[in-house]
């Protein structure tokens, strides 16, 4: 469904031709003379959207300020709390939207979406309880990366689809003496290791909380099974895996030191391009669906989106001008010019090899990263408590009991549990 949607919109945009289409979509800026101030993370796809918005509507605004920082998550709540807020918009992702919503710092966008509906498609809308809270423009997910030449050399004929097949492939590569540690995963202690658990946990059908409450349910059969799987996987990972996140795993991959990887889709384009690696590696790297437990099961991935939000504590005019400028940047031309920087949820996107993994994973029925107010606390507890198990110092049940205990303590303090 996901792939089809992308393919169709791509074809449509191609057919309509860019000039006529752009005219019909002519940049529609909001009220003039307003101040537009944007806080966003720092990667090429976000720059592309904001650049386009600035090009379209920057002249009509009294000010167009932007702060791209990887620390956006750390400062956004403080920056949006005063009235007027420091920024009129924050560009964020699933997990960070809840962080702002917990403090009621972003406004519903229903009116604005209606007014500027030309530039916004229904599948971009993030609605919670009927209110549009964000407008997404790109998707991301973790999935499998494989080196087909090495699989072939090790006698593995098909791309692994399940965790068992993945383990078998890793073992075949090791047994053939090609690589001792063929697998890379983002297992850095903290956020990354927690996220790696989430992937396998969701693939096993796990639920983080009792529905409708903040009571943890990770110490379950799915949790234990997920940890066991994770432990089998890290046997084939680089011995320093506890300190490796996206930059390190991408480095290992580009250096040709890995043949199987579970990495972010957003790294696909960087890995497949001709920088930082050899043609031997890039030429045989294939991006595929994230592995599942059973063939055709839920892929072990979390789907993410990046999108725009508008601050609550700014004037309605500033809010409208900011919204109009940003959605005016989401044009087919912008997508065409930056096609490989992201898996765009916008018209004009032509899925290339770098998007294949995310598309297949989404199509395979992977779950979105949960948008639950207390998920950050759970994620932090997972990030800190699972290492003992992976190092063999305690049982899976004990590790998960520790996670629940750490979560419960923090959630009580934060007011989610009584």
């Amino acid at each position: 469904m996901f792939l089809k949607k992308i393919a169709i919109t791509g074809a449509v945009a191609g057919l309509m031709g860019s000039a006529a289409f752009a005219e019909g979509h002519g940049a529609m800026c909001g009220p003039e003379g307003q101040s537009i101030r944007i806080l966003a993370s720092d990667f090429p796809a976000i720059h592309a959207v904001v650049d386009q918005g600035e090009a379209n509507c920057g002249a009509a605004a009294s000010e167009f300020a932007r702060n791209h920082t990887t620390e956006a998550r750390q400062i956004m709540n403080a920056a949006l709390t005063p009235n007027p807020a420091e920024y009129t918009s924050v560009i964020l992702a699933n997990s960070t939207l809840t962080q702002l919503m917990n403090d009621d710092l972003v406004r519903p966008l229903n009116d604005l979406v209606e007014k500027y509906s030309d530039n916004v498609k229904p599948n971009q809308l993030i609605t919670i309880g009927g209110d549009v809270m964000a407008v997404a423009f790109m998707a991301n997910a973790q999935h499998l990366f494989v080196r087909q030449d090495i699989l072939k050399q090790a006698g593995v004929t098909k791309v692994p689809e399940t965790y068992d097949e993945l383990l078998a492939a890793a073992e075949a590569i090791r047994a053939a003496g090609i690589m001792e540690h063929p697998l890379v995963m983002n297992m850095q202690v903290g956020w990354n290791i927690g996220e790696s658990f989430n992937l396998v946990f969701l693939a096993h059908g796990g639920e983080f909380f009792k529905p409708g409450t903040a009571e943890p349910t990770v110490n379950s059969e799915a949790g234990v099974a997920a940890l066991e799987t994770l432990k089998k996987l890290v046997e084939y990972a680089h011995p320093d895996y506890l300190t490796q996140a996206s930059n390190e795993t991408q480095g290992l991959w580009e250096a040709g030191q890995a043949a199987l990887g579970i990495m972010w889709g957003s790294r696909g384009a960087a890995i497949l391009d001709d920088e930082g690696s050899t043609p031997e590696v890039t030429g045989s790297t294939v991006l595929a669906k994230a592995p599942s437990v059973e063939p055709g099961g839920i892929p072990g991935a979390t789907l993410w989106w990046d999108g725009i939000t508008i601050s609550r504590n700014v004037s309605d005019e500033e809010a409208e001008a900011t919204f109009a400028a940003l959605v005016s940047g989401m044009t087919p031309e912008m997508v065409a010019a930056n096609n490989d920087d992201a898996v765009w949820l916008l018209d004009g996107f032509t899925p290339g090899p770098a998007a294949a993994g995310v598309a297949a994973t989404a199509q395979g029925g992977a779950k979105p990263y949960p948008m639950i107010p207390q998920i950050g606390i759970m994620h932090n507890a997972l990030g800190n408590e699972l290492v003992d198990f992976l190092k063999g110092a305690e049982s899976a049940e004990q590790a998960l009991a520790d996670v629940e205990a750490a979560y419960t303590t923090a959630a009580k303090e934060a007011g989610f549990l009584q």
Partner: protein
């Protein structure tokens, strides 16, 4: 000096200290007695590019009303101090009841985050502080006996670890001990074990952090002792030589007593610094094996998206108490020396 004059001299410093140190500590303490308001959760449907699902959200208006009524949060007394993230009275008691050997009990206890961090923090302080003292004195004596021409450059190079920013120094070492780094890779080939990882084993991580700690703090104690050595009276030393004291005896009975006030000073500073060790844990990404009290505070404030001010406050207060307890013997000793001198 008259007390009155002294008071006017100290007033600017004193007021700055009250304003910027004492009052914030009081505020941190008050914060540590409170926890967040109840978050009013409502069940709603959330939809996005990947379909719809049932989810919960915070009822912002209801939560805000609670916050208005009590801006500090709910009063929790000392319960934050005794919960699982801190002193964990209930969990320790439970471990005591249910384990049959002392070792098993300790195992359970050091599985709790606060005690795990306390264990490493104490071990780090207990090992790094004396090493820094002894090695600093050794380096200072060595440099002091160098020919004049070599002294300048040697002092400069000895100070390098302190000139390099701690975070950068730690990162450089971190990359060197990586499996693909020069130290990590050499060790792997030396022991013929491709799975050997300095970052994966708790014991090796501890050693790595401590070696880094000594390397980083050494210049401080070196330069203080070196300065002390310059003030050493020549005649006492000559008298000792005429009396036939060996080099070692001169060191033991003349130099060290002369440097004793400086030893106290370096010990005080080092105990405080080492008990609050933080940067190397972050740069070595060692929090899994070697969390410290400061790292726990950082984690509470930063990582979960909902800063836990109460928890961070409680850990801060206990770190302050910990430093005070550690400094107590040194302070008592200094006080005794002072009163003894005053009595003369």
């Amino acid at each position: 000096m008259k007390n009155r004059t002294f008071f006017w001299f100290i007033l600017p410093t004193l007021s700055a200290m009250v304003l910027f140190i004492a009052l914030p500590i009081v505020s941190v303490f008050i914060q540590s007695l409170h926890i967040e308001h109840e978050q009013v959760l409502v069940v709603s449907e959330s939809c996005g590019p990947f379909g719809c699902s049932e989810t919960t959200a915070v009822d912002a208006a209801a939560t805000e009303a609670l916050r208005e009524a009590q801006p500090l949060g709910r009063f929790n007394g000392l319960k934050t101090y005794t919960n699982r993230s801190h002193l964990a009275f209930a969990e320790v008691a439970e471990a005591w009841r249910t384990t049959d050997s002392f070792l098993a009990f300790l195992n359970r206890m050091f599985n709790l985050p606060f005690y795990k961090a306390l264990l490493f923090t104490m071990a780090y302080t207990a090992i790094v502080t004396p090493c820094v003292l002894v090695l600093g004195l050794a380096v200072a004596t060595g440099v002091n006996n160098l020919p004049k021409l070599l002294k300048g450059p040697t002092i400069f190079f000895s100070l390098l670890p302190m000139i390099v920013t701690p975070l950068v120094g730690a990162l450089i070492l971190f990359w060197m001990v990586d499996g693909d780094g020069i130290i990590g890779n050499s060790l792997q080939s030396l022991f013929d074990d491709p799975s050997l990882s300095l970052k994966a084993s708790p014991a090796l991580t501890w050693m790595m952090l401590m070696v880094y700690g000594v390397w980083h703090s050494l210049p401080f104690s070196f330069i203080v002792f070196y300065a002390g050595l310059q003030t050493q009276p020549k005649d006492t030393m000559e008298a000792a030589m005429i009396d036939g004291a060996t080099t070692w005896q001169r060191m033991r009975y003349v130099t060290i007593p002369h440097l004793m006030p400086l030893v106290t000073f370096v010990t005080l500073i080092q105990l405080m610094d080492n008990f609050r060790v933080f940067e190397p844990v972050v740069s070595f990404q060692a929090q899994a094996h070697a969390p410290t009290l400061s790292w726990i505070i950082y984690n509470d404030l930063r990582e979960s998206g909902n800063p836990l001010y109460g928890s961070a406050g409680a850990t801060s207060m206990m770190t302050i108490i910990g430093v005070a307890i550690l400094l107590m013997p040194v302070l008592i000793r200094t006080w005794r020396d002072y009163t003894r001198k005053a009595a003369h």
